[in-house]
């Protein structure tokens, strides 16, 4: 009995030791990760600016292009890129001042402004309406928006899909009450769609491109005609008013980055394959049908659509305050 106990003691002591050693290793890994990028620069005189991005978005492209970060340094700013999984958590980080810049779709800033935060628009991109679509399964009998009546539709509540869906349904004299909505994040929705659990899915590239190629999904309609589906660069009022030089630079170098993306499809595709884990044909489809560009916040089309989004969400009881989107736009 004693021998067995000693054996046990040794094993468990070793396990405990391994545990501690691994934990220490974890600490070292984290430490080295946070030090990455701060080594070769004179970070003493540079203001650190945290920029939140999501995989494959325009902010990611600006990051890949590198011009903005380079020029920012000359202005005395060091850009630190932070990856987010979705727009909502990005905005939470923004409005609690943990990041200073971020890129989201058209709906999160409206929701944020309605809840009384200090979010402001500092830049916009051109429409991506042809990269957002309503998908139905290959063998679906649904062939028009009117056919969606009484069907189950999956989409992410609080994302740009909401407004798109409402506008699309409106065109067939339908409302959200005429369908069964299912709130699903992109990957859960992808599985549900694949396994035939939902009749339709409102989503955007690369998810839609993946479904088209891998599941032969049919495109019921793109967002064209229903929503401009613009993307926005955001900041907070106080910070933005103090750093208009960086905002100007973002808009200027953003144009350069977008041009670069449009002229370097193969590089973009390769990066998307690696970064987003996409199959090459999916990445190709995604890149081929998108023209990247920066837009102006004084474009009334864009402002009017954002206002419409605010009004529509309010009318559908998704936000509880009526807002004036213009209040959140930084005027140069």
């Amino acid at each position: 009995m004693k021998k067995k106990n000693t054996f046990k003691k040794i094993i468990y002591s070793l396990l405990a030791l391994a545990w501690v050693a691994t934990a220490v290793a974890g600490f070292l890994v984290l430490r080295s990760e946070s030090n990455q990028g701060s080594s070769s620069t004179d970070s003493k005189n540079l203001t650190v600016v945290n920029f939140g991005y999501q995989r494959g978005d325009e902010a990611d492209i600006i990051r890949m292009n590198g011009q903005f970060a380079k020029d920012a340094k000359k202005l005395g700013y060091k850009i630190k890129w932070t990856l987010f999984q979705d727009g909502t958590s990005l905005l939470t980080a923004l409005t609690s001042n943990h990041i200073q810049f971020g890129r989201t779709g058209n709906t999160p800033p409206v929701v944020s402004q309605a809840s009384g935060t200090n979010v402001v628009y500092v830049g916009a991109t051109t429409s991506k309406s042809e990269s957002s679509m309503i998908l139905v399964p290959e063998d679906s009998e649904i062939s028009s928006i009117a056919d969606l009546k009484g069907k189950t539709v999956a989409y992410g509540f609080g994302t740009s899909s909401t407004y798109f869906l409402i506008k699309a349904l409106q065109s067939a004299d339908l409302t959200l009450n005429d369908i069964t909505e299912t709130n699903l994040g992109q990957s859960a929705a992808a599985t549900a769609f694949q396994t035939g659990k939902v009749d339709a899915w409102v989503t955007w590239d690369p998810y839609s491109a993946a479904a088209e190629i891998q599941n032969n999904a049919k495109v019921l309609t793109t967002a064209k005609g229903y929503s401009g589906d613009y993307n926005f660069f955001l900041s907070t009022k106080k910070w933005a008013s103090k750093h208009s030089d960086l905002i100007d630079l973002l808009n200027k170098d953003g144009k350069i980055a977008m041009k670069w993306a449009n002229n370097n499809h193969s590089t973009l595709i390769k990066t998307f394959v690696k970064e987003l884990g996409l199959d090459e044909d999916v990445a190709e489809l995604q890149v081929s049908r998108r023209t990247y560009g920066m837009a102006s916040l004084s474009d009334s089309t864009i402002i009017n659509e954002q206002q419409d989004i605010a009004d529509v969400l309010y009318d559908n009881d998704m936000i509880d305050t009526k807002i004036n989107v213009k209040d959140a736009i930084i005027n140069e």
């Binding site: 974890g26 995989r55 987010f84 943990h98 990957s187 599985t191 987003l276």
Partner: protein
């Protein structure tokens, strides 16, 4: 016969895995949606070779351990204070109970607002989750120390530190250790959630990442890793319990 007894707890898990693998081989299982055990193991080997798995395990372990130590110490100190001092208990217990009733996982967004998107928010959330089972079990453990023994200590004029070292702490230890085992479970489940938001490393990040890329092999691998780590920490705790409470052998138990 006794030697075989050791293997009984493993019968069901092993049978399940065999059944799982067989259904994949035979074709009942759509391995695109749910990979076979073999595929998961292969993925595990692949990710170990390129260092991804060990690195993320290490990071998760670090966060979990730190959070556990932080929350455990706070819980232990508070439990002790409130059990031994009426003033402390009157001051703090209600507040602690109120906070305890908030599902701590729901506080994650709030923690990110308060503490930012870096490491602190994750570690603090784990600490919060761990704190309560340790607090309650320390408190109850001390409160339930046999009053007879305490009275004996008083009559034998033991100093306060001796009372604590010889009577109160050992008497509360069984309860505290129960709290530790429970807290270890909470530690893992909290970390899983904390690592799904704003993380660049760790098992939870691996899982979210795998989800986003529809990489079910990695996803299941991470789930398996969590199960292994959870079982491991519980075993270590159980062993610790056996060692520290070895005097209980021989006692007639229900």
């Amino acid at each position: 016969m006794n030697k075989l007894k050791k293997f009984i707890p493993w019968i069901i898990p092993v049978l399940l895995i065999i059944f799982w693998q067989l259904s994949a081989v035979v074709g009942i299982l759509d391995t695109k949606v749910i990979p076979s055990p073999l595929q998961v193991i292969q993925q595990g080997i692949k990710l170990t070779k390129n260092g991804t798995l060990p690195k993320n395990i290490a990071v998760s372990l670090y966060r979990a351990t730190l959070g556990f130590l932080l929350g455990g110490s706070i819980g232990f100190v508070l439990g002790m204070a409130n059990a031994l001092s009426t003033l402390s208990r009157n001051l703090l217990d209600s507040t602690i109970q109120m906070i305890r009733n908030i599902p701590h996982l729901a506080l994650l967004p709030l923690f990110i607002v308060w503490f930012g998107i870096g490491e602190p928010a994750k570690v603090y959330l784990v600490a919060l989750g761990v704190m309560f089972p340790i607090y309650i079990n320390t408190y109850n453990g001390i409160k339930n120390v046999s009053p007879d023994l305490i009275e004996m200590g008083q009559l034998y004029q033991l100093s306060r530190s001796k009372m604590f070292k010889k009577i109160i702490f050992p008497g509360a230890l069984p309860s505290i250790l129960v709290g530790v085992r429970y807290a270890l479970g909470v530690m893992w489940t909290t970390l899983i959630v904390a690592e799904t938001v704003n993380a660049k490393s760790g098992l939870g990040y691996m899982a979210t990442d795998a989800q986003n890329f529809a990489n079910t092999k990695t996803l299941i691998l991470v789930v398996v890793m969590y199960a292994i780590l959870g079982k491991l920490s519980d075993s270590i705790a159980k062993f610790l319990e056996e060692e520290l409470l070895s005097w209980q052998v021989g006692e007639v138990k229900a």
